[in-house]
Amino acid sequence: MPSSTPGFAMLDARAMVKRRLGLRLWLSGGWLVVLVVAATFAPWLAPHNPLEQDLFTSRLPPFWMAGAEPGYWLGTDSLGRDVLSRIMYGARIALVVALIAGTATALIGATLGLIAGYFRGWADLVISRLVDIWMAFPPVLFAILLIAVMGPGLVSVIVAIIVIDWTRFARVVRAEAMAQGAMDYVASAQVAGQKRLGTMLTEILPNVLPTIVVLLTLEMGIAVIVEAILSFVNLSISTDFPTWGGMIAEGRTSVHQAWWVLVFPLATLFLTVLSFSQLGEGLKDRFDPVLR
């Protein structure tokens, strides 16, 4: 591309980025809204009971294939359970984990990051050293160790995510709070007689908040995938509840006989993880004053 007029090229590029950003935000946000609605109203929207087994309807293909039964839109698994209904109920667990684990991780990590970055001193010393040790620990193994000790279950999964991932927030928020703390407006708040804690909450926090929101969005995607992985290896909630990871594990074993049992939950998980990360990246650019 000839760039004889760099100024115009840049404006052009910026407009293009902006347009692409908008589309990205809408698509990923739209998918997540669909998911939230499906999860919230699953008892009314799902065509079948997700646990109901019926060997007469086992391994029915999805609606467009020969041999499909009406009402079983995405087919059934080897026990005759409706795939679509199970995906909708599975979304409940995925989103609950995303919400609880994500929020708690953000709260704990961001608080520690703010304290370390703004108050500095020994608090910073302790928190930073902790972060360093945590970083030396392979996250997957840390999760496995924690689950091994606490025993499988949804609570263990959520606790494991919080214990492992708080450093993500702490590191970034600490750096941001340090940068903000060095700025003039903070100094003037101090001169105006504001207390240190007050300054942190009313001056620093609002300026760090966009970063926290971006990280939170990304963290929710991570939480969804971690829950899926742990339910895939049967270390999450009991198999009485339909989960995407559990469905994928079943689909993996019968992939040669009934691919749809693997493909649909996998596609849902894929889109959800992609949406969270695209939403996060999109928000990051949205909050970026240069692009705005």
Partner: protein, 335 residues
């Protein structure tokens, strides 16, 4: 200079490993449901519990326990697996080669793909190809290896079954080997029939592990190349009449590669961590698969051993990368 750096890095590595050992030790003992309770069959009496506690040293203080345990670990005694009643160290070392071979193969694939994409993207700057590369690596990055593994299973295991998607080698060939480094041994003994079988099993899990790392390499290396291409010496070599390919590969690349190298080191440790779930997904018989079995059976001595071995692997890789960086970076070499 390099020696001093090596020594100081060795010291920090030791401190990190000690920290990890403390975390592992404390996590396992502090949380309710202590190992003793898990080892005993239901219906054990108080006396049984006390005997077992004394046997494992749980009647001493936690500090004493830690040092007794640490002393054993230093001597290579990681305890006995509850499930199989075999020494943890032997179990773990038997599986280590499989995981190492898988990780290294994944690393090679990631470097080849990532490097190729970065160089192509730099050569074709400003074209649609560059845009396509950017979008692809962005996508590849935002989806983790677990999902790529499943996608690969569907594409190359089911839809177009060209690769094996389960196991490390065809079972009847296992007896052909004298070591556990199957891939390495097959090359050394020039047994390419075995090599082909191994690669057709390992390629899919290795590729799944490699995709996110390849994306990172492609993005960072392309960025560094882009910055280097604007430097005066690159312009100079261009005015000397060298072709664009020569300029990129011979002039820009050596200077642009250092930041990528450091990052690859850090990311390689994440890749090794990723083997846990990828091995499970592809029923590959390595350490990670064993770790998950150990968790399901709540075999704490085994889990403890695996986690510590992984942590050693992590820190050794980091140390190695740091040293490599010192050797390759002229500024550190002559300082």
């Amino acid at each position: 200079m390099i020696l001093r750096r090596l020594l100081s890095r060795l010291a920090t590595t030791l401190v990190t490993l000690l920290g990890v050992s403390v975390i592992v030790f404390v996590t396992i003992r502090v949380v309710p449901g202590n190992p003793i309770a898990m080892m005993l069959p239901p219906g054990a009496t108080e006396a049984d519990i006390d005997r077992l506690r004394a046997l494992y040293g749980f009647d001493r203080s936690i500090m004493e326990q830690y040092f007794i345990w640490l002393w054993g670990v230093v001597q290579g005694d990681f305890g006995t697996s509850i499930q199989s009643r075999q020494p943890v160290l032997r179990l773990v070392l038997n599986r280590l080669p499989a995981t190492l071979e898988l990780s290294i193969m994944a690393l090679v694939i990631a470097v080849v793909i990532g490097g190729f994409l970065a160089l192509t993207g730099t050569r074709l700057r400003g074209t649609r190809t560059e845009g396509a590369i950017d979008v692809t690596s962005g996508m590849a990055l935002s989806v983790p290896d677990f999902l790529w593994g499943l996608v690969l299973i569907l594409l190359f295991g089911v839809l177009w079954p060209v690769f094996h998607i389960s196991g490390r080698i065809s079972p009847q060939l296992t007896s052909e080997f004298t070591t556990n480094f199957f891939l390495f041994e097959s090359v050394v003994r020039l047994r390419f029939d075995l090599w082909r079988d191994l690669v057709s099993h390992m390629f899919m899990p290795a590729l799944a592990l490699a995709i996110p790392l390849a994306a990172i390499i492609s993005q960072l290396l392309k960025q560094s190349l882009k910055e280097t291409m604007h430097l005066d010496y690159v312009t100079l070599s261009r005015t000397k009449g060298y072709g664009e390919n020569h300029v990129i590969i011979r002039e820009a690349l050596p200077n642009a590669v250092l930041p990528t190298l450091t990052l690859v080191g850090v990311q390689f440790t994440f890749l090794i961590g990723g083997t846990v779930i990828i091995e499970r997904l592809f029923s590959y018989e390595g350490l990670g698969n064993m770790a998950i079995d150990a968790v399901i059976n709540r075999d704490l001595p085994l889990i403890q051993g695996i986690v510590i071995l992984f942590a050693v692997l992590f820190t050794v890789v980091n140390l190695f990368v740091d040293m490599l960086y010192a050797v390759l970076n002229p500024r550190l070499r002559h300082a």
